[in-house]
């Protein structure tokens, strides 16, 4: 979707603000949100593309005023509710309970659970090789499309010409995987774009951009 999350090339966010000696987490709840997300994904409650689409589906003003882990909390809630694992009412009620009775502890550990490998960010399944449509060095056009669902092709790339830089091989297709429409692996490429192709006369001198694009995002062009 053409959302506010698609920030490449947007102006108005000011300078990059760094924090000296930044801690790993700024509050305990951030760490727990991170862990609940990782564990939920490891258990298969939702996949990474659903996770991302949940953030993109936030109201734009909400997205922009939220911190990073607030967005994570929003999408973990959204996806667990979408999957029927909990309800919005349950969550509201439990929040209210904890507010009115702050001494309430967490429930006892009820079920044993598997311990999947969690501290990584890999695709859920490996995909079998697929015949690539493009070869390294091929000129390509990033398609000018504007899907309303999830996509990993940002707007600033669309309609622009680039060159295949790397062939990564098959990868789960996020556009369908985010919507419960299957993994549909496609070949994934790294595509190189000249800065002037992207930004015209506004480009800084000597810039090259690389981005990973799925095969169906691309069209062949005459070199």
């Amino acid at each position: 979707m053409n959302g506010v999350h698609d920030m490449g090339g947007t102006h108005g966010f000011g300078p990059v603000q760094r924090e000296e000696n930044e801690p790993t987490f700024h509050a305990d709840w951030e760490a727990r949100v991170l862990a609940m997300n990782r564990l939920s994904r490891a258990h298969g409650y939702f996949n990474i593309d659903e996770f991302r689409f949940g953030i993109e589906s936030m109201q734009p003003a909400h997205y922009l005023r939220s911190t990073y882990y607030e967005r994570w909390l929003a999408t973990v809630e959204y996806n667990l509710i979408e999957k029927g694992l909990l309800t919005s009412d349950e969550l509201d009620a439990r929040t209210e309970l904890l507010r009115s009775q702050p001494e309430t502890g967490l429930p006892q550990h009820i079920s044993a659970e598997p311990a999947p490998q969690i501290a990584r960010d890999t695709p859920e399944t490996p995909a079998a090789p697929l015949q690539p449509r493009f070869a390294v060095g091929d000129p390509v056009l990033a398609r000018n499309v504007h899907p309303t669902g999830h996509t990993r092709m940002p707007r600033y790339i669309r309609g622009k010409r680039g060159v295949i830089h790397l062939l990564h091989g098959p990868a789960i297709f996020p556009d369908t995987n985010a919507l419960g429409l299957g993994e549909n692996p496609q070949n994934l490429y790294n595509v190189r774009f000249d800065g002037r192709e992207l930004w015209g006369d506004s480009a800084e001198p000597g810039q090259v951009l690389y981005i990973d694009l799925w095969e169906s995002y691309l069209e062949p062009v005459q070199s």
Binding site: V16, R32, L39, I55, S66, L73, L91, L106, T122, D212
Partner: protein, 204 residues
Amino acid sequence: MNKYDPEQEPYVALRTKALESLLVEKGLLSSEAIDELISEFEQDIGPLNGARVVARAWTDPGFKQRLLQDGGTAIAELGLPGDTPLVVIENTPADHNMVVCTLCSCYPWAVLGLPPTWYKDFAYRSRAVIEPRAVLREFGLELDDEVTVHVWDSSSEQRYMVLPERPAGTDGMTEEELARLVTRDAMIGVATVNSPAAEGVAAG
């Protein structure tokens, strides 16, 4: 604008606790697993892993070649998770690389740990692809006009890490000493690795 706001904490902290409470009660997750994962992220995962990779590449040409060829497999030699697709890109005097994720905040956790807030913030995400030199200047890195800036927008599950240039004055240093020079920012590509203290340079 998306800075940490302590006034928001009470609600989100409460909401997070409510979520965990429900997930545990339903047998979907356990608090112990949450604790373990947090401790893993706080203690075992961090930019020191990446620094070790860089130092090895600086001192072992064969490893460097394997690293640039297939980062995921190469880092497994150092005991790091080898199933992470990792592309390592090398800075040279003529080519500077930097990594961003404009759509969310994809980051090479396996080698660098959790990303700093600025990497996830809107300013960096929006600007790195349209005015990388201006961004680098804010980080104190002024590149010559002749240097090409290669910006890597991480849009897939492939992860990108920069192999910085080995600084002058480090000829006699051990791999471990070298690793201590390598910063997280240099492996994202918003900084270079500094030479050790001036006397070191003179001696090197």
